[in-house]
Symmetry: C2
Subunit: 299 residues, 2 copies
């Protein structure tokens, strides 16, 4: 059972126990373009207490640099090297784990942020934001030239998703021997200010269905993302806590990496999913209503 946190001493005990605080962003620090009340104060408090603060997001539409712009715009202090996104982790995975040879390329179903991260890691790509691929013009297989150097297809949230991209990706995955099927993350939905839209997992779903095969997923809950963080910074998993709003991504990610987990109820997960007869089998160590609750320490 999760421990419910509510008193100043509960929060003080948590701060004593954990040196590294990993945060999911959407649904934890903000909801769409609206800051969660108290989030800035709590991050400030953690920094004053010398805690290491890391932001771990599955959002693959933005590069770390442009994601920092979102922090800036909302007045949340963050540094690019504290931000880990699934597009960045995917680019690192392709260059450092898969070790895709330099002459090989990635076919991208994704947006500018993914292109930027691949570019920074020196990974060649095609598709993505290319106007020839962002089209509703009919796709003709007869007019398509298969590039034999495409060694992977990387799928993330792409609001330009269309039949041409899906068809090209399907050709690479079925006709280029060894072509690897990758997804930045498998979030079923994507929270915006007024509700939910289909998420990155929904964008790779057509290929998953057509191929009868799941992609290698990079983002939370996969440990690939944590491996990527480990490669860049030092932290003791036993003294690290993952704060998130989604059981099947954030909390599972923390548990898979041996971290403590704190669920907040300002995002996707509702009270009914953690208590009562229909509760999820994924049980966080701690639960609090909002990250803003930790402000009580500072008072």
């Amino acid at each position: 059972m999760s421990a419910r946190l509510s008193s100043v001493s509960d929060y003080e005990a948590l701060l004593d126990k954990y040196d590294t605080w990993m945060f999911d962003c959407d649904g934890v620090l903000w909801q769409g373009d609206r800051l969660i009340e108290g989030a800035v104060d709590v991050l400030g408090l953690l920094r004053r207490r010398q805690k290491k603060v890391i932001f771990v997001t599955n959002n693959a539409t933005k590069s770390r640099k442009s994601y920092k712009g979102k922090f800036d715009q909302l007045g949340v202090e963050a540094h690019v090297d504290e931000i880990y996104g699934s597009a960045y982790a995917a680019a690192v995975y392709i260059s450092s784990v898969m070790k895709l040879p330099k002459h090989k390329k990635v076919y991208v179903i994704g947006m500018k942020g993914m292109e930027e991260e691949l570019h920074e890691e020196g990974v060649a790509f095609l598709g993505g934001m290319d106007p020839a691929d962002c089209t509703l013009e009919p796709f003709s297989l007869a007019d398509f030239t298969l590039d034999p150097d495409v060694g992977a297809v990387l799928c993330g949230l792409d609001t330009n998703i269309n039949y041409t991209k899906l068809s090209k990706a399907f050709q690479y995955l079925t006709r280029n021997p060894g072509c690897v099927f990758l997804a930045t993350n498998e979030d079923s939905t994507y929270p915006v200010a007024d509700g939910l839209l289909p998420g990155a997992g929904s964008i790779s779903a057509p290929l998953r269905y057509a191929l009868g095969k799941d992609p290698i997923s990079i983002g939370k809950p996969a440990t690939t993302m944590l491996d990527c963080i480990k490669a860049k910074i030092d932290f003791d998993p036993k003294r690290t806590i993952m704060v998130g709003d989604r059981l099947n991504t954030d909390i599972l990610f923390g548990q898979g990496g041996g971290l403590a987990t704190l669920l907040v109820l300002t995002g996707i997960t509702s009270e009914a999913e953690i208590s009562g007869p229909d509760a999820s089998s994924i049980v966080p160590d701690f639960v609090t209503q909002s990250i803003g609750d930790l402000r009580s320490i500072g008072k």
Copy 2:
């Protein structure tokens, strides 16, 4: 084990046993725009022997009327009332089985053929080929007005698939109480002259994934399609044979309806899928290389 047909007497015995011949089209009578050798002769032979001929296709991009155009163009005799498509069956299902009230509407992820069949059955719809829905412009949930009269979402192969259509369909399915999730068919791939493209099942896959729920599927292998044929014509299932090229649609459809089944190898299914260690668990009654093989009778 399937009976392999090869001699004139094999084919003669088949003709004696079955009065109604149901044919899948793509991969059986033609491949893309190329007629299967002998198909026209065999259909002529069946008609001369007073057999009832029915064409059963999962293709939902064309109405029966426009599908007849494909037969005409390839020089294959066919009449509109012999053609059953999954768009037609879906429209009949919505009006006659679901009995969607007249003031209710269907949100369409599909093409002109689907719109035509819904129109003929008197079912109101939105989405589909509407230029406002066939767009790669960003979708804003804040600017979207939910139509409370949308009582179903119908998904078929749609080469205009995009994030706006997926987002609208997702809103209807999650926010309109009782809104029914329908798919014309679940074919994972779609055969064209030069290969395979993602099929109708891939188009509904994003919604399936985002909702965590499967659609009610109308086309083969679902028996809904057969119910639709039964409502229109008389046939004795015991004296009916389904001829197809796909085990998991055509052959399963025939078996589910208590029909005999004949697999041809001119389409999706390869020899390895019906014999040897990796053979499918779906076993047709009869197998022949091509529908053209039955010509030997006429010689």
